[in-house]
Point group: C2
DNA sequence: CCATATATTCGGTAGACCCGAACTTTATAT
DNA sequence: ATATAAAGTTCGGGTCTACCGAATATATGG
């Protein structure tokens, strides 16, 4: 009874949101383009666009329509909705600086991971490019860190909903193996990703809990495998991460 | 022919978007709450919410509905849509560190300013709280910096659309005075805000132009008036800002 | 200046949105 | 435990509207 269960939907809203997504995908578009891409009449698209422009979700320059900066405000809201999310930002940055690796803070939503903050140690090239992107929890260090803190029945629900697709040949694709791994993660307090999501990328993750004991998210630090010595991977980075997680939980508990 | 001109709108989309805005305003809500707040029947609200949940714009936990992290992805897209926006981030951060003040990067959309990045020099308290917020261009240093780079007829259009409301008794509320001021700003390359938006807050702003010569946005640095000496306000901060704007334009032109 | 393509407006109808009522579930109090 | 209430959810039906297609306006290039 999970996905798209029974009830009714508002067709017009779905159309408008499809236009929004298509505007992102096409990086701005004209009426006709959208009409063709979505198999709608231009007049229909035009009416939807006018509505979205009025509501400030879309801007029109010439005949090209683009998503507006209104989404910045909405994103800012969802990011700061929980105090824990707000303070995670600077810790992620700190992690990236200390380790000189890519550091991220991720949370779980609907059984999947979402990148909330991403910082790179050195050059800020693809600094923000993955913010908001979703990923499979079982493929990453941060994801497994989060899973380790969830009730096992919830983990099983998530596996049933999203499956255990492989990212590389190292990905854990068996449920019982995953569950055993999560026990180990819970024990250690640290999760590892040994080229399980992407070839050549290793990562370490730690969960962070709220004052109610429930997991809020996870930090992780990733690096190209060839720049990551075994000692750094298994000792040094985990230690840094656990330290930051502790600081975070302390600050978070004081509010 | 500007605001809500003639044409038709999609009523259902407007309703869905009102629900989205209301979810932000109420910081999450139940069906009945929304129905009362928007004067709709609970069944109608329920159908809209189901649609939004399916589309991943809203999440449901228990009987409470919240905006989802999907907006992070959309915001990330609009932020990185223009390369200039993407690289402005680290310069804003740098400004905040160098000046130990609050530094922001803003752009213009539909005749108003939008905060795109905001950093505080010291403690990260309300670090992100204004991202995405809109403001009147004539009341701020960054806003006037942007206006100074726009064709004067465009400025007049903007004034006609949004007026010149006062934020404090120092706000420029007369169009011809504003236009004169913009000439001075263009000459100097720097704009000042002498407690014109908020009592007790001074700021300095500089515009940044794209390689096509059109303004992309503006940086500004703000500080409590009593911590800002005349020399810092009129000399030191402007110099820092102009330097950063130059670096920015250089990097931006190489892509 | 004409030809072409696209944006926008507008009439009419098929169909969907909205309400209200019935039903289900969850919470509270006796 | 049971009753009572309140909220969430489903579903039928009527009205309104979202959609299309054609006509008109606007922009582009030959």
């Amino acid at each position: 009874m999970n996905k798209e269960s029974g009830g009714r939907r508002v067709q017009a809203t779905m159309t408008s949101l499809e236009i929004v997504e298509m505007l992102r995908e096409l990086d701005g578009a004209r009426v006709t383009e959208l009409a063709e891409a979505l198999d709608l009449s231009p007049s229909t698209v035009h009416t939807h666009l006018s509505t979205l422009v009025d509501a400030d979700y879309v801007v029109k320059s010439g005949d090209i329509y683009h998503l507006s900066l209104h989404f910045l405000g909405l994103a800012n809201y969802v990011r700061n909705r929980r105090n824990a999310y707000a303070i995670a930002d600077s810790y992620t940055d700190q992690l990236a600086r200390e380790t000189e690796c890519r550091a991220v803070f991720v949370v779980e939503e609907n059984g999947r991971g979402v990148y909330m903050y991403t910082y790179s140690g050195k050059h800020a090239v693809w600094k923000y490019s993955t913010v908001g992107k979703r990923f499979h929890l079982h493929q990453t260090a941060a994801g497994k860190a989060i899973l380790s803190q969830l009730p096992r029945e919830r983990v099983i629900d998530i596996v049933e909903e999203w499956g255990l697709p492989a990212g590389t040949e190292n990905t854990t694709t068996d449920q019982s193996v995953l569950l055993e791994e999560l026990e180990a993660v819970e024990e250690r307090g640290v999760a590892f990703n040994d080229e399980e999501q992407l070839e050549g990328v290793k990562a370490v993750g730690v969960p962070v809990d709220g004052s109610d004991g429930r997991v809020v998210g996870a930090f992780s630090v990733a690096s190209p495998a060839n720049r990551m010595t075994e000692d750094r991977f298994k000792k040094e980075i985990p230690k840094t991460l656990l330290g930051v997680a502790n600081e975070f939980e302390l600050e978070n508990s004081m509010s």
